[in-house]
């Protein structure tokens, strides 16, 4: 397979006006044109200027990713689109809340594992824990994988937030 056809995972940061319908525009673009969304996070980042930052993790061939960026750039309320995967070095973090239930050895093992992963216990009952874990997506995948045999009940993940390394801003 040539590089042209290789499916890649890219993290895009999109600065938008925080106005009604802007998220619908972005999501509608992805569904309407058949692009993938692996995860999407959004929140206002500049109250004064009413700007929100959307982080989208998407999968596609390099030409497809270029097309996604161009299409995003075409939306009227979009200020900037940055491909954190190719345009700069970046850090990516995701937060997950992971509920694990059980007693005895499994419970002890879950707690031990959570310490190894630097997860925090944010809720506990005699037969359950809620762990809070942050990290990149692979780390969270790994933690959830380990919890499965130990009584994993429920997971809530934020999706990735990402930012470039170094002093430059987008």
């Amino acid at each position: 397979m040539s590089a042209e056809n290789q499916i890649e995972r890219h993290t895009l940061s999109v600065l938008v006006d925080n106005e009604a319908g802007v998220l619908a525009r972005v999501i509608g673009l992805f569904s309407g044109r058949g692009y993938n969304i692996d995860s999407l996070t959004v929140a206002e980042v500049d109250e004064q200027e009413h700007m929100s930052r959307i982080t989208i993790v998407t999968l596609g061939t390099p030409p497809m990713i270029e097309q996604i960026k161009a299409q995003l750039g075409r939306l009227v309320p979009v200020h900037r689109v940055v491909d954190l995967t190719v345009e700069c070095e970046s850090v990516e973090r995701e937060l997950a809340l992971v509920k694990v239930t059980g007693k005895g050895d499994a419970r002890v093992e879950a707690l031990r594992m959570s310490e190894a992963f630097r997860a925090r216990v944010v809720d506990a009952t005699p037969d359950s824990f809620v762990f809070e874990i942050t990290g990149n997506t692979e780390k969270i995948d790994a933690f959830i994988g380990l919890m499965k045999p130990l009584g994993l009940r429920e997971v809530s993940r934020t999706g990735a937030a990402a930012i470039s390394r170094g002093p430059e801003a987008m």
């Binding site: 006006d17 009604a20 619908a24 030409p63 270029e66 097309q67 161009a70 299409q71 075409r74 009227v76």
Partner: protein, 585 residues
């Protein structure tokens, strides 16, 4: 302090400030305050259509023939949903349009009120941008922005959805200012480095071709002028898409005719065999490229487009220039002249001799018939008898549209209005209404099919009401001819639901509307009938009875390449269309 006006007054004032003279619309409960304001002023004329789809196509015809923004006004709910086809059409063909829709009052939104529809939700994917005005203080700014977004960059339709309470509310009005939009800033000037690279490729080309599109038309008549200059200077051949017809004069020797699925043999072969393709304002649409794997395999490609997302979308190019066609052409010409580029005369001469050989196939020739009118003949005669008049042509969608593109010849931009990207049957009559409103003295003809024309036939009533002398020239083959042709080609001649049964008597229908009906059934009477049509002062429906089973050639069948096209004298239609090709439309 800014002037205080109510919402409806703000709408009218902003339309006036943007130079709007005509709007196309249909009233209803949710836009009554705006209609009341229309009633009380004189600078803007409202054209009452018979269906909201008609208003949108009329606005498109108006826009395309003038270069101005088309304006539409419709009510909430069904008014807005009826406008969706025309909005999508305008989006696909990059037509500037502002469509104002009424909405239920803000406090009722979301409650399934009478005639409530989520207009911004429904129109989000079929507009360039849309707005729901929730605060009277935003209305003036949004109206100005709507015109800016619709008319600049790659033009397109913009919806402004205005709840009825906002139309009554008092708020500030300020005049439009040339302020930079916070996030919307289309690139107009092309990158000079890329332009220089393009000129270098042009200088070294041995088998070049200009492939131009609707972007030239949208860029304005000046772009056509510059294109002509560049084409003349280089001596290169030029072809154009359906949307670009008229940007280069068809009478000129360097013109190869339209390219694409029903384009000429010489244009498509030249596209296939060229070593340099200079795409200006076209978008490598699938009607143009045929199967992508085999599209012009040995050429370097230059692409000028104002929309960055058009670049490398379907076809990867070697030099991409984002910018407005006129600006880029101007820079190209400047570099070309200052570099004193001299094209390779010898290479060009041999390229032209290849092209002449393709031309000699005379791909648009057809068998004449002494008794029955061939549709191609009808368009040829129509052209001959109207070419010296101040003529504008619109079309519906189907075979007649392709015959119009092939046999009617255009020398100037803005004279040809057709639904290219969406292929909307029913476009032609209302578009003709819009063109005629903009050019009351001109000869405006809709080259139509008997099936298409029934989709928006009621707009004849609009034409009669406003004394718009449009001519509907129906190539009546009693079939949805284009569908029939595909069924012949791909479905064993099983003509499932493509026969136009129970047709109205178009002559009587015209009379019922208060228009004039004319029928021609033989070649002998055709010329006189066309002349009568031209001389009739009011709207005319011309029922031109043509042969029923004519196919539209040349044709690149689905899934085939430019050098695999079928000609009229090909051995019938018994070619093999690949399985993959059959799934294409």
């Amino acid at each position: 302090m800014d002037k205080q006006l109510n919402g409806a007054q703000i709408v009218l004032q902003s339309l006036q400030d943007h130079g709007v003279e005509h709007i196309f619309g249909y009233p209803g409960g949710a836009v009554l305050p705006i209609y009341d304001e229309i009633f009380q002023q004189e600078s803007i004329e409202h054209i009452l259509v018979r269906h909201e789809q008609g208003a949108t196509h009329a606005a498109e015809g108006y826009a395309r023939s003038t270069g101005k923004c088309g304006v539409v006004l419709v009510t909430s709910g069904p008014g807005a949903t009826n406008a969706v086809t025309g909005l999508t059409d305008a989006l696909m063909d990059s037509i500037p349009m502002v469509c104002i829709t009424g909405q239920v009052p803000t406090h009722l939104i979301g409650g399934d009120a009478f005639q409530e529809a989520d207009t911004v939700g429904i129109t989000r994917p079929c507009t360039k941008h849309n707005y729901l005005v929730k605060d009277i203080n935003d209305l003036a700014r949004i109206m100005h922005e709507a015109f800016q977004v619709a008319t600049t960059g790659r033009p397109g339709p913009v919806v402004v959805d205005i709840p009825k309470d906002i139309q009554f509310a008092l708020g500030p009005y300020m005049k439009p200012k040339a302020v930079k939009h916070k996030s919307y800033q289309p690139q107009i000037k092309g990158d000079m480095t890329a332009i220089k690279q393009a000129v270098e490729l042009i200088a070294n080309a041995k088998k070049p071709i200009f492939y131009t599109g609707g972007g030239i038309i949208n860029s304005g008549p000046h772009a056509s002028q510059l294109l002509r200059e560049l084409v003349k200077l280089t001596g290169f051949p030029i072809t154009s898409t359906l949307m670009g017809l008229g940007s280069y004069p068809s009478a000129d020797k360097q013109w190869l005719g339209m390219l694409g699925m029903h384009g000429t043999y010489e244009a498509n072969w030249a596209m296939h065999d060229c070593d340099l393709m200079i795409n200006i304002g076209a978008r490598f649409d699938d009607r143009i490229t045929g199967v992508l794997d085999k599209f012009s395999p040995n050429s370097k490609k230059i692409h000028v487009d104002i929309d960055p997302s058009s670049i490398n979308k379907n076809v990867m190019v070697d030099v991409a220039i984002v910018g407005d066609c006129a600006h880029v052409l101007e820079d190209m010409l400047r570099v070309y002249k200052s570099d004193a580029v001299t094209p390779d005369k010898k290479a060009l001469a041999s390229w032209w001799s290849e092209i002449e050989a393709w031309r000699d196939r005379k791909c648009l020739s057809y068998k004449k018939d002494a008794k029955a009118i061939k549709p191609q003949y009808a368009v040829e005669r129509l052209y001959e008898l109207t070419k010296d008049a101040d003529t504008y042509i619109t079309t519906e969608v189907g075979q007649h549209q392709m015959w119009a593109a092939q046999y009617y010849r255009f020398e100037d931009p803005n004279r040809w209005m057709t639904s290219g990207g969406l292929g909307t049957m029913g476009y032609g009559i209302p578009a003709a209404v819009g063109v005629q409103v903009a050019h009351p003295k001109s000869l405006v003809i809709d080259i139509a099919g008997e099936a298409s024309v029934q989709m928006t036939m009621q707009e004849i009533s609009t034409a009669v009401q406003y004394r718009l002398p449009i001519k509907i020239f129906i190539l009546n083959n009693e079939y949805m001819g284009m569908v029939r042709q595909w069924q012949e080609l791909l479905h064993g001649g099983r003509y499932s639901s493509s026969y136009s049964e129970a047709l109205p008597d178009f002559v009587k229908l015209a009379e019922a509307y208060g228009a004039t009906g004319i029928r021609a059934e033989t070649p002998a009477e055709l010329d006189d009938a066309i002349k009568r049509m031209i001389d009739t002062p009011g709207p005319v429906i011309f029922d031109c009875i043509v042969t029923k089973d004519e196919n539209c050639f040349p044709m690149i069948p689905s899934g085939a390449a430019h050098n695999e096209m079928l000609l009229a004298d090909s051995e019938g239609l018994d070619i093999e269309v690949s399985e993959a090709g059959k799934t294409l439309v």
